[in-house]
């Protein structure tokens, strides 16, 4: 919709340009979806020319302005998955968007994380693979914050006023791990009510059984909830541990109209069992599917 209070448009990625009543504009699919009575200037970051996806030594860098379509394309390549099997969860994560493939041409990875919805699927997979967000702040300050710590509540981030997400960085060890994903929604292809990412995290040079499994819960909690558990736990023990972790975390099970908390809890624990069973068993041949 029109943002009728907006009177100016500028191109900038410099946090020192940011004034009150400004908004950073990436794809714009969230800002233009909700509109605003208070935003008067848009700062367009998409003309900075940041390469959407880059591989550095043992690290994947994803620009905040990388569109969902670009990410989806990259993670569908055979060579991508061969080199970094954990990225097999990215396409299913994209399917968790309520928004369709048409919106993916426009909306961005950074925009989804900055919106900080509990059900934001980019937050889910990035947090699930332990990604770190590079933040540009006023005065040229650059900070790295784990994505799981960047989203702090429903619609709330740890970003200071004027701060900007520049990119996300996923370490090679996570990219090479075994990863999987489960999600629940009240409707087919609807808004996520529980989204659980799991990955193996073997200690260096050790057998997998001695390693750990890292679960990251989103959508059914107000903010990402990462939990590292010994791979030696039974699926039931893992679910119980997750349940304890949520109970002790502020906010507990998330409640909104996209699912009752009791059901969200039930589905989350069910997924924890499934993921534990999957990641401690033989690797499945089938691709992940989300409906």
């Amino acid at each position: 919709m029109d943002m009728s209070a907006v009177t100016a448009w500028a191109e900038s990625t410099d946090p020192d340009d940011f004034r009150p009543a400004d908004a950073w504009l990436a794809g714009g699919t969230v800002l233009f979806s909700y509109g605003s009575d208070s935003i008067t200037r848009l700062l367009d970051i998409t003309t900075a020319g940041w390469p959407p996806i880059a591989l550095h030594d043992d690290e994947l860098e994803i620009a905040a302005t990388c569109t969902i379509a670009e990410l989806y394309e990259y993670c569908g390549r055979e060579e991508t998955i061969a080199a970094h099997p954990a990225l097999r969860i990215v396409r299913p994560a994209c399917e968790c968007f309520v928004a369709s493939w048409k919106i993916w041409h426009t909306s961005t990875v950074g925009g989804n994380v900055a919106t900080a919805l509990p059900a934001g699927p980019m937050t889910s997979w990035l947090a699930g693979l332990g990604a770190v967000a590079r933040i540009w702040e006023r005065g040229g300050v650059v900070r790295d914050i784990p994505v799981a710590d960047l989203v702090v509540g429903n619609g709330r981030t740890a970003l200071t006023p004027g701060a900007l997400i520049r990119s996300f960085h996923v370490a090679g060890v996570a990219l090479r791990s075994r990863a999987t994903l489960r999600r629940a929604s009240l409707t087919s292809r609807g808004r996520s009510a529980a989204l659980l990412v799991g990955r193996t995290a073997p200690a260096a040079g050790q057998a997998q059984a001695a390693g750990t499994i890292r679960l990251t819960l989103t959508a059914s909690t107000p903010r990402p909830l990462p939990l590292e558990l010994p791979a030696s736990l039974t699926p039931d023990e893992a679910a119980a541990a997750l349940d304890r972790e949520v109970r002790e975390s502020p906010g507990g099970w998330f409640e909104d109209l996209h699912g009752a908390p009791a059901w969200r809890r039930h589905m989350s624990l069910r997924f924890a069992r499934e993921i534990f069973a999957e990641l401690t068993g033989p690797a499945p041949a089938d691709p992940l599917e989300i409906t």
């Binding site: 919709m1 029109d2 943002m3 009728s4 209070a5 907006v6 009177t7 100016a8 448009w9 504009l25 714009g28 699919t29 233009f32 979806s33 909700y34 009575d37 935003i39 200037r41 848009l42 367009d44 998409t46 399917e95 309520v98 928004a99 369709s100 493939w101 048409k102 919106i103 041409h105 426009t106 629940a184 009240l186 409707t187 087919s188 292809r189 609807g190 808004r191 009510a193 349940d243 109970r247 507990g252 099970w253 409640e255 109209l257 699912g259 009752a260 908390p261 009791a262 059901w263 969200r264 809890r265 039930h266 589905m267 069910r270 409906t291």
Partner: protein, 929 residues
């Protein structure tokens, strides 16, 4: 920017989205459905990629290539996808069609193979998506004139294609606000400040800053409003609805009510003006719980009204209307019954979600007459009410509609027309008001939330002994339809079963909440949900198969329709007769289809931990609403051989223009394409009550037939006199009249002959909507339920309809498939939610999910073979009624599968799971297992 091949130079506003920019530059095929990226009606190609133009900053498209459906193809040269949508007739109202077409045209083969995923960002509220699937698969459902399909499967008879199909699929059909760019520029825009409080009084409004805002033309408040009470709900009899509403009131009775309006040169200016208004509110105690509405000491919603004058039953107890009747002795009958069932069933508040929001534009024609173009089901009644409110002479208002983007009852109301009239009369210039999607949720009307207690008794053999409905309706802050829905809710729902004792207790109460109004089914979907769920439960209690129990007790062809009186002649059903009866056939058709599905090759049952079940339910609907419903029609043979048909009724996806056209074509033996339909304009005919109550065919069709009959008589008289043959020997044949062993004359010759004598071959017809008949629908479901997740899969959906003669099979099937889909949305997940203060919180389609293609099954549709002598060419109504039996059939199937009975909607996955886990005992939150 290059827009559909033309260079557009003007720079967009910095906050402007691409949708409004391209519309300002003439691309009116690009629609606003949600304005938030959810519905896809605004889909365009940006440099060849399909995008939702409502969430694309227009600045980003500067210098780029933008293609809309009008640029993709034209009626003469449609794109193959457009051709496929026309041939399949993959639309009803057509408002979503441009977006569907643009999305489908951009799909890869892989995307085409998975339409549920690929079209999840395109919402259609009319079709239930079946005909859209057909369009994607290239299935042909229609040909321009109907009849055998030459190029298609052998022997398949095609339905006649809707008039204007080519315009719809190429983005050229003009909906309400699709004015040419020149006309758009002259229009001022009106925006509304809405109450943030459920109950408040405006002490004062400081308009200074708003009036100083650049581009603001005027501010209108309660002080500018005519001090005339009226109802936004519209019926043939204005006195059917309570007078409880002002154009602008000083008292706010729900959060979302109009508090003041600002008119500006642009929407932007008007919105800035609204932000600058300063209101001094006196917040008052409010009423949110309908159960508390009639308790002493409760805040009164219309305590200031004189109940007698305003036609409110009792303002001092928040009661708009109530009804208490008894036939026989229900208590005695229940006491003597072998089996008794007593339970409460609730229906939540749901929204119509027409893809086109309410909108209207007012201007003055060359004679200075106020003209209003609006998205309405009732242009003539709207004109009448505006006369009443503004005290204008009877010939000083004209109301017209363009193509209307969906109705479902929501447009049997005045929600925008009075405001544009007020502002246009003040400013003496064109003024437009277009609701946002949010305003549709917060400030129009919804389905009535209803609590229905049903008590049933039966004897040992399963025969009903007593039926008691005890219901409370929450009509919200204003009583638009709060009376009519109440009476209708207890009509067919009690008439449809034979029981010696029947009792009705129902009240319609005010609350400080968004008003309830007319919604497909008009009260029956809520009471049929209760009665048909209860019948299923009673059958199980009595140890009978529910389907048998239903057949045993459903009214037969010769039964009286007993509701409020033992003698139907004393009830509102007095002019209803069972003109044709196909309920028995419908039961058989559904049972046979479910049996086929059950035995089907794969049975399509999912493997693993699923519970399977089946359920059915039925409903009845009188083919015309009570208290009068009139249509006028005029048929004119033109000298070029075409036939002009003028009708008042509106086309909003119900398909009546197709059927009315074809009735004329059949009566005059001309091809459908020779009939040119003009409609929904108060200048065309004397009167039309409107397109509601499924009357587009049953009433307007009779008027059209009457007009054709009168025209024929006229023509026969002329020919008989000229040729000296007796009238009885003249019959209608191929494009004219012929004496069976003598000469023949074409319509065009006859019209020319007549024109030479300065006369017109033209006749009118009128139908007043009585007597009325009854239509029936039976719905069946086969479902699978996963107890571990609460997931429900509909393995089979079947509906059989007793529609009388089916005049256009594709369209009638579409009405049913669409009705099932809309009802499934309400049954499974739709709910308008309010916060404790009464503010609607579900204001975007992401939070008020309506069915997408992947949410609904492809419903099998079967028709009973009946002919109704009361309907046009034997037809009965079939627009509202397919909705009514869906939810109870689903709940019945769920109980059959799981043993768990759900008595409130929506039956969401989380609710179903909780019920299955035995944790439904009212607990909330997250008790630990």
């Amino acid at each position: 920017m290059r827009l559909d091949g033309h260079e557009v130079e003007e720079l967009p506003h910095p906050g402007q989205c691409l949708r409004t920019y391209v519309r300002e530059h003439g691309a009116t095929g690009v629609k606003k459905g949600c304005d938030a990226g959810d519905c896809g009606a605004c889909t365009v190609h940006l440099n060849g990629q399909a995008v939702h133009s409502c969430v694309i900053p227009a600045m980003r498209a500067v210098g780029q290539e933008v293609t809309t459906s009008a640029g993709l193809g034209s009626p003469g040269q449609p794109h193959p996808v457009q051709q496929a949508f026309a041939a399949a007739q993959g639309f009803q109202c057509g408002f979503c069609t441009s977006g569907m077409v643009m999305t489908a045209a951009a799909m890869t083969e892989e995307q085409r193979a998975d339409p549920e995923r690929s079209l999840k960002g395109n919402l259609c509220r009319c079709t239930g998506y079946c005909s859209i699937r057909d369009a994607l698969e290239g299935t042909v459902n229609t040909t321009p004139d109907g009849g055998p399909d030459a190029g298609g499967e052998c022997g398949r008879t095609m339905s006649a294609r809707a008039p204007g199909a080519e315009e719809v699929v190429t983005g050229r059909a003009r909906f309400t606000l699709d004015l040419p760019p020149g006309a758009q520029q002259a229009v001022a825009h009106l925006k509304v400040l809405r109450s943030p409080y459920a109950h408040a009084r405006i002490r004062s409004i400081d308009t200074t800053a708003a009036l100083e805002t650049p581009g603001v033309l005027t501010v209108l408040t309660w002080e500018d409003s005519p001090d005339v009470l009226f109802s936004t709900g519209q019926h043939e009899q204005r006195t059917d609805d309570p007078d409880d509403t002002r154009v602008l009131d000083r008292v706010m009775r729900f959060a979302g009510q109009r508090a003041a309006v600002v008119v500006g040169e642009t929407v932007r200016a008007a919105e800035a003006g609204v932000r600058a208004l300063v209101v001094d509110w006196e917040v008052l105690p409010d009423l949110q719980d309908p159960e508390a509405a009639r308790r002493p000491g409760t805040p009164l919603v219309h305590g200031d009204k004189d109940g007698g004058r305003a036609r409110i039953a009792d303002p001092a107890s928040n009661t708009v209307a109530e009804l208490h009747t008894e036939v026989g002795d229900v208590e005695a009958a229940l006491a003597a019954s072998a089996h008794v069932h007593d339970a409460v069933y609730t229906s939540p508040r749901t929204a119509h979600v027409t893809m086109e929001t309410h909108a209207s534009v007012a201007w003055f024609d060359d004679d200075g007459r106020l003209t209003i173009r609006t998205s309405s089901q009732v242009p003539f009644l709207t004109r009448r009410t505006l006369y009443h409110v503004f005290g204008l002479p009877k010939d000083r208002i004209r109301v017209v509609t363009g193509r209307v983007g969906g109705g479902f009852g929501s447009k049997q109301e005045i929600f925008t027309e009075d405001l544009v009239a007020l502002a246009a009369l003040r400013l003496r210039r064109p003024v437009q008001l277009e609701h946002t999607r949010g305003e549709q949720f917060t400030s129009t009307a919804t389905r009535h939330p209803m609590r229905v207690r049903v008590r049933l008794g039966c004897d040992a053999s399963g025969r009903l002994t007593a039926l008691h409905l005890d219901a409370l309706m929450n009509t919200g802050a204003y009583g638009n339809h709060g009376v009519g829905v109440m009476f209708h809710a207890v009509g067919e729902s009690t008439a449809m079963y034979r029981a010696p004792a029947k009792r009705i207790d129902i009240a319609s109460v005010y609350t400080h909440q968004v008003p309830s109004g007319a919604f497909r089914g008009y009260g029956l979907s809520q009471t049929v949900w209760a009665v048909e769920s209860a019948m299923d439960e009673l059958a199980r209690r009595a140890g009978l198969e529910p389907g048998r129990m239903r057949r045993l007790n459903a009214i037969g062809p010769d039964d009286p329709l007993v509701t409020t009186h033992a003698d139907p002649a004393r009830s509102s059903e007095r002019d209803v007769v069972i003109g044709s009866y196909g309920l028995d056939q419908c039961f058989d058709l559904v049972d046979a289809a479910l049996a086929r599905g059950r035995r089907g090759p794969e049975g399509n049952a999912p493997s693993g931990d699923w519970l399977l079940g089946e359920g059915t339910a039925f409903s009845a609907l009188n083919t015309i609403p009570p208290n009068g419903h009139r249509s006028d029609a005029r048929v004119t043979v033109r000298t070029d051989g075409t036939v002009g048909l003028k009708v008042g009724t509106a086309e909003f996806g119900n398909g009546t223009s197709t059927v009315l056209r074809d009735l004329v074509a059949a009566r005059l033996a001309v091809p459908p394409r020779a009939v040119i339909v003009s409609q929904s304009d108060t200048d065309l005919v004397e009167h039309d009550t409107g397109a509601y109550g499924s009357t587009g065919i049953t009433v307007a069709g009779r008027a059209v037939e009457e007009a054709c009959r009168n025209l024929l008589e006229q023509a026969q008289s002329i020919v008989a006199a000229r040729w000296g043959v007796h009238r009885s020997r003249l019959e209608v044949v191929d494009g004219g009249l012929s004496a069976w062993d003598g000469p023949s004359v074409t319509w065009s010759d006859l019209a020319r002959f007549h024109a030479a004598r300065e006369r017109e071959l033209s006749a009118t017809g009128t139908w007043r909507g009585t007597p009325r008949s009854v239509a029936f629908n039976v719905q069946g479901f086969r479902v699978a339920v996963h107890p571990g997740t609460g997931e429900l899969r509909i393995l089979q959906s079947v509906q059989a309809a007793d529609a009388g003669t089916v005049l256009n099979e594709h369209q009638c099937r579409g009405q049913i498939q669409g009705g099932v889909a809309q009802a499934l949305g309400a049954a499974l997940f739709e709910e308008v939610r309010l916060d404790p203060g009464g503010t609607v919180t579900t204001t975007i389609l992401r939070n008020y999910h309506i069915p997408a293609m992947g949410d609904v099954p492809q419903t099998e549709v079967y028709f009973a073979d009946t002919y109704d002598p009361l309907g046009p060419s034997g037809a009965k109504s079939m627009s509202e009624s397919p909705f009514d039996p869906v939810a109870p059939a689903l709940a019945n199937a769920i109980q059959d599968a799981t043993g768990v009975r759900l008595r409130s909607m929506p039956m969401r996955r989380d609710v179903l799971w909780e019920a299955l886990s035995g944790e439904a005992d009212g607990r909330r939150g997250c008790r630990q297992a």
